[in-house]
Subunit: 332 residues, 2 copies
Amino acid sequence: MKPISIGIDIGGTNTKYGIADREGNILASNSIPTTNYPDPKVFVKAMHQAITDMIADCGEEVELLGIGIGAPNANYYTGTIEEAPNLSWKGVVPLVKYFEEYFPHASVVITNDANAAAIGEMIYGGAKGMRDFCVITLGTGVGSGFVVNGGLVYGHDGFAGEFGHVIAVPGGRLCTCGRRGCVETYGSARGVVLSVQEELAGTTSPSKLRSIAPEDMTPKDVFLAAESGDVIAQHAFEATGKVLGESLANLVAFTSPEAIFFFGGVAKAGKWILEPIERHLKQNLLNIYQKNMVKLIPSYLPESDAAILGASSLVWKEVDHMPSQARSTSSA
Amino acid sequence: MKPISIGIDIGGTNTKYGIADREGNILASNSIPTTNYPDPKVFVKAMHQAITDMIADCGEEVELLGIGIGAPNANYYTGTIEEAPNLSWKGVVPLVKYFEEYFPHASVVITNDANAAAIGEMIYGGAKGMRDFCVITLGTGVGSGFVVNGGLVYGHDGFAGEFGHVIAVPGGRLCTCGRRGCVETYGSARGVVLSVQEELAGTTSPSKLRSIAPEDMTPKDVFLAAESGDVIAQHAFEATGKVLGESLANLVAFTSPEAIFFFGGVAKAGKWILEPIERHLKQNLLNIYQKNMVKLIPSYLPESDAAILGASSLVWKEVDHMPSQARSTSSA
């Protein structure tokens, strides 16, 4: 029997789930609308049915080792989702407990999506064999997952690794957290669009970005404009890269990672964002970190499967750390 | 035979060394002038003689388990001191190798003094039983040692944990590292004195600090002035605490420690510095960290023995992590 892991990525709108093997092959995947389930217990019941059906239909003899869940405001230690602003489930939801009631023989693990992305990069992606690295997600928000000495950094309360809410510009842009100048207000999709607006307001240069309403504008629009030579778009990425590079120089002074992996919509702008990040990082880096400088690497995980792979990798990470007499992962 | 560890703290002027047991009792201690030994090999030869004599004279039957060394710019992974600006030994000095030649049966460990202070706090001090905490040293410089998941954070290159060189004030005070606005330029002894000068320049208020030349002024002078009601001194600590509190709010977003321990001359100002640090930390802390807020604690290690205790604790940390068949620490 082939050992498998289920990866579940809970988002505000949809929940994606799938079956992955130890090599990161997705045997099957699907999604359900999270918004259809205002009661988390009903959600878990529906997920149990969907997963059971998916395993039965996958056409292989498999052994379910565990379920990994990536979710906003998820706490690894307590197995709960706490006060997630983008979910309709309010308060503290003991989601791991609910899943364990339906899957009593599986190991169930939950953490936030950026931590899941970090473990995914370590198990399946570009961080194989690395013991000190981090993953930065530049998407709707800015998230981060830190691996130190081969283990994820959860902190004493399970909430470590909020690089998006490091204050990069004192007194700067207003953040959804209520404070000002957080990295997220510059490095997220919204941050890039805000930088475009600032560039547009500060110059009379022609730009095709003037024809797109700010609330409709995406990082992809800005990327395509930059590619076609639009100076406003290029300057917006430069401004974004400056804030990210300066903040990452401070990040290096904390954990000195071997590599920083970038994931998410903003990171897909490629050289337009990575080149200014690297330049400003190097300019602001303490001298002792210049020699073996941290590597800046786009995530190896394929965009379409990344959320499921990240979540499913949590299971392999747990299984790999069990004593060998309790569980051998090499035997199928 | 009582198992013992040797702690050596190498400073630019003097090297302190002593014998410690597992409970943190110092059985003997002494010091030699580092500046007398421009050749590190001659230094190690002299240390070997001094340690051998000290063990012979300590009046107990002891078993030397290892030697722990705290030194500036020390690299745990390579066992070297690299380009330390405050030592006369230039280039890369393989100090652990030199010590192992004289002490072939002892485990020899080296790291920087702030990391040694963190392990000292975990083995002998206030961080016993904690798995996620950090120690901040506020002295001639600002140093830091981070413990995550029960282990010290060395980073991929051995140089992690440079909180003193996180940029707190973009474009701010010039640092000895050549950059501007590092935490060290505000939180060190020199940083406090600079804040006093700024306060003195900005007001005509009388202050006994006006009678002390800046290069003669110490944090203790400022502390005594603050105690006696000197408003300039109190404002200088407030300004220092503001920068430290804001920077520590970012630190919490990285590793979310259970506690932050403060050590060094500036920390001895007690409530005058800790109260503003705590207030500005809380004001700048992301909401998810407010509930179980990080504890701010003065170091438990006695000032006079702290350097030797920190260095010697490195040995117990290594020994405690060996397999029990190789070394039992509970048997004397």
